[in-house]
Amino acid sequence: MKHCLVVDDSRVIRKVACRILADLAFETEEAADGAAALQACRLRMPDVILLDWHMPNMDGIEFLRALRAGRDGSRPMVVFCTTENDVAHITEALGAGADEYIMKPFDRSIIEAKFAEVGLV
């Protein structure tokens, strides 16, 4: 079973995403901001991270840069999932090492399609 870390400051979004991912046979874990997500990754590196952009403490792009700067050799897939839906943000995310990008709002078909893009469904 693949392990997905869902990082979003909205409890409702985390809950909805986790329900969809559980339905797609993922084991899920939650983090409410980038700092908590980094801590979770240190304890157990997930296969894929579903990542919001705007969050307190550490936002999604800061988290991604810190994650990709890590030297332990692991490279989990990162799928941004954000209300930032313009080309500039998408380009910045891809440049920082994101593998795919979901523009909110999302539903099951979009999560499934995007996870298929990165070879996880």
Binding site: N85, I90, L94, E100, I102, F106, I110, A113, E117
Partner: protein
């Protein structure tokens, strides 16, 4: 809708489009016809059916279009596109190296996601830059879908189903919350409203035919008729791609299935007189 009206409507639809309706689809009919009733000012389906019985052509065309299923997605059923890219295209590029011309037909293109997905794949291969002429024809029964496809503008929801984010950024421009296909890709496709029940006589010989997720809505007789007419216009080494739920095995001897690629068919080799004798 009463049984007489439903029976009349299913026959009208079958005659005009080949689409099959079963009694279980009564609710679907009513929900699909609601916008047509509003547009033409009918208070209920009985009044609509009365007018249809009088042979109102514009109304008959509108209800037929309303009953078509137009759900689609970019690179829908990814495997089909992989088979096109990895099996069909390399062989055709060799076979057509002299003419440098490819003719591809999407027979039921809905809002254009399928032909634009093909155009993106062809663009990946830089075929136009290498001097190839690509005739990419896309047809659909529904004129509103053809108008949408020609416009090439898709919602945020539509571009997120099947389209990798890098392709979105590379091949589309953002217009508010919508995304418009690039002009170069739009120009690669010729769109036309066309009913698969009508004559294929105007079509040139095709190298590849995508006829996906449409045969399943037809009765067996119509499926056979469409497939046999596709066989008439497809090149001897041409390929036919159907949807994953649409095997044509048993419907025709004109095509043979490809091993390990269940949705991909090639023209069957003509039987020799000896073979015919053996079979007969």
């Amino acid at each position: 809708m009463d049984q007489n009206d439903f029976a009349f409507f299913t026959e009208l639809l079958r005659r005009r489009s080949g689409l099959l309706l079963t009694q279980q689809k009564t609710h679907l009919v009513e929900s699909r016809l609601a916008p047509v009733m509003r547009r033409f000012g009918f208070k209920d389906s009985a009044a609509l059916m009365r007018e249809l019985r009088h042979g109102h052509e514009a109304l008959a065309a509108a209800v037929t279009e309303a009953m078509t299923t137009n759900d689609s997605a970019f690179f829908r059923d990814r495997r089909t596109f992989e088979e096109f890219r990895d099996i069909v295209l390399p062989e055709l590029l060799i076979n057509r190296a002299a003419s440098k011309r490819l003719r591809i037909w999407c027979a039921a293109c809905a809002a254009g996601q399928e032909p634009y997905s093909i155009a993106m794949m062809l663009d990946d291969g830089k075929l136009l830059a290498q001097g190839w002429t690509i005739d990419l024809l896309a047809t659909d029964l529904n004129s509103q879908m053809i108008a949408r496809a020609e416009e090439g503008v898709y919602s945020q929801f539509e571009v997120q189903r099947g389209l990798p984010i890098r392709r979105l950024v590379r091949n589309f421009t953002q217009e508010g919350s919508n995304w418009r296909i690039s002009e170069s890709l739009r120009r690669m496709v010729t769109f036309r409203t066309f009913n698969l029940l009508d004559s294929f006589g105007w079509l040139a010989e095709m190298d590849v035919v995508f006829c996906r997720n449409v045969l399943m809505y037809f009765d067996q007789k119509t499926r056979i008729s469409v497939i046999d007419r596709v066989a008439d216009i497809i090149a001897p080494d041409g390929a036919l791609l159907v949807g994953p739920a649409e095997s044509i095995l048993g419907l025709t001897i004109a095509f043979a299935q490809t091993e390990h690629a269940p949705g991909l068919y090639y023209r069957a080799k003509p039987m020799s007189p000896q073979m015919r004798h053996a079979v007969g």
